[in-house]
Subunit: 401 residues, 2 copies
Amino acid sequence: MTTLECLFCDRRRPFEIYNPFCPACGAPMLFAPSRGKKSVRSSATTAAERFADFLPLKKYDRTLSLGVGGTPLLRIGNVIDQFGLPEVYAKNETANPTASFKDRGTVVAVQKAIELGIKKIGTISTGNMAGSTAAYAAKVGFSCLVFVKEDTPQDKIVAAAIYGASIIRVKGDYGGLFRKSFEIGRRRGIAFMNSVDPFRIEGYKVTSYEIFEQLGPAAFRAKAPLMVFVPVSAAGHLIGLIRGFRDLHDLGLIPRLPVLVGVQASGCAPISRAFRRGSDRVERFPNPHTIAHAISNPTPPGGELALRLLRESGGSMMDVGETEIRRAHALMASREGIFCDPASATPLAAVLKLKRRRHLPQGARVVLIVTGSGLKAMEAVVDPAPLDIRPADLETLEEVL
Amino acid sequence: MTTLECLFCDRRRPFEIYNPFCPACGAPMLFAPSRGKKSVRSSATTAAERFADFLPLKKYDRTLSLGVGGTPLLRIGNVIDQFGLPEVYAKNETANPTASFKDRGTVVAVQKAIELGIKKIGTISTGNMAGSTAAYAAKVGFSCLVFVKEDTPQDKIVAAAIYGASIIRVKGDYGGLFRKSFEIGRRRGIAFMNSVDPFRIEGYKVTSYEIFEQLGPAAFRAKAPLMVFVPVSAAGHLIGLIRGFRDLHDLGLIPRLPVLVGVQASGCAPISRAFRRGSDRVERFPNPHTIAHAISNPTPPGGELALRLLRESGGSMMDVGETEIRRAHALMASREGIFCDPASATPLAAVLKLKRRRHLPQGARVVLIVTGSGLKAMEAVVDPAPLDIRPADLETLEEVL
């Protein structure tokens, strides 16, 4: 039996397909792992299989994975040199099958759905999650229903619809749509795998396992801290990463957790604002406005859970302004060859901000989670002013040069 | 010393940065490997390092690779079932750092440039090669000059310019531009890494090594043939794949070469047309017109070399029509969760064509090379008619469903 637990009221209950929330306090519930002995299968091919004991599945089926995970961890040497940073690595999640980290959650949620006999799935998305959920639905032969915000760019919608999903552009409040999706799911037998789906969150743990394997145990034992910066929208990704590192700690593989730093855009920073105030409550962020569309979520459903887990584990929240995001976005591409979306540039923006303020611990090692591809956020660079693009013809070519 | 050889006149000469063509016959020259003993370093992390003895580099530096290669080989079970196909796998090259196979060539060509002390590079491109070359130039700190065709969509240009390259939109004949680029390179000290660059081609060999490792030796020993279908534009990719399988054959790892099938769009099929006529000469294809922009090259510089290598190795060329390409493109996404560009769908279109004509050998195993991402060819799906996209508001949502 699959059990969910609420970290706020310690309540446990069996998993119900259409309702991942605590009946007592309304918080998103998480997967409650069995207490049996778990171990690492070191000879398995992928990190998901090596750490399969920690996933909420009877069996992880790699043939359904579309090749998720195993993404590169790249030292960003040019930016390190330019700004005098300590060792900084980018975990490039844009190398996933649908070009974002969402695939890691989707592959686990979809395999759980197969286990439970579900054949209709759905999600709510502003872009990356729609494409990821629709692609995996195509692969396993499920029908897929996707609700998107009315103002979602057509390109992002088409990039999900191409997988055969039914897409509904919904006018109205996004938070309201989030709650309504579960009602609709219950009535129509559709399992909605939204941002804080408990199985999706378990899938994000695999990124932590990979970072451990790629950096090696010594990085976790060093005196100076290891810091992991991640963009935060609904907060499912951040929660998954913390849980993944906890698994490694429980196994005795790392002596302490790395310092997790969730990053939001200052133009939509409900969790960062609550963290700074020392509050446990996340309030709706008024008039969100940022180029980092992928993390522009004024009512993050996992916000309070994230605050609690961050405080328990010595992590923190930050936010960064539009100019800082644009600058970091350009640096990632022009100095490191990584074309990510603006949301994915917020971790670098945060590190540069800490450096400027002399708050970056001496000798720290830093991992930036690069969550999504710039190819899905071309609107962020449509103003080609700072880019060097010139016209010529064969005859005038030499002059133009 | 790095030596180039011409397969047509058996001529050899030292490599010159700005001139990869045979002084006798004008054909593109290829890297002439040393005759020393070569072996596989089976404990190395990536295929490029395991087979480093076969690459034209003193040392393959993985830290400059941006995480290239190691792409998934995915069995396309739903399409197999729908059409009664034999075992068919998609080698998903869209998982590369800039979302196309070009990265495999770029990483080798750029490392060779470092070895040779070059710091300025350039390329000519309709899209994927521009992004790939510009990204690696950013990573290694080179300046990068990119010539694109005048009618290249703005999105594709921006997706390369973001890496800091200088982009020139050139009006005029593409074939003329190809030749002119080498002149400009010579005068300005810029190494142009165009489609048939000899080191770029060596990089494509690694795909063959990976296919061998992923399928296992038995697939190459089976009675029924192993067939590898690849989209063909300038033909550098096809030439590289054949050379990679030859390396495996020379090592005694495979008893014979797989059957390579180059695929073009019928709307621009200069090499396929020459192959069908039994000709050694590739003539300019008049009025090219196809949705598969990435392979719309009416004057492929490697065409005649490809014809020769295909004939020597028992391979062949095919071409497929626009309806076939569109259908295969939709199948890849909606049945297999792989959103590729139309050019990348031509291999599946070719397999389905052979199946319809009962020309697919019984029990054959098939590998389709999926060369580039659909995210860079959104114009191919801008007509959303066959996609299911509907509007609603929170109140009418249930009715719309």
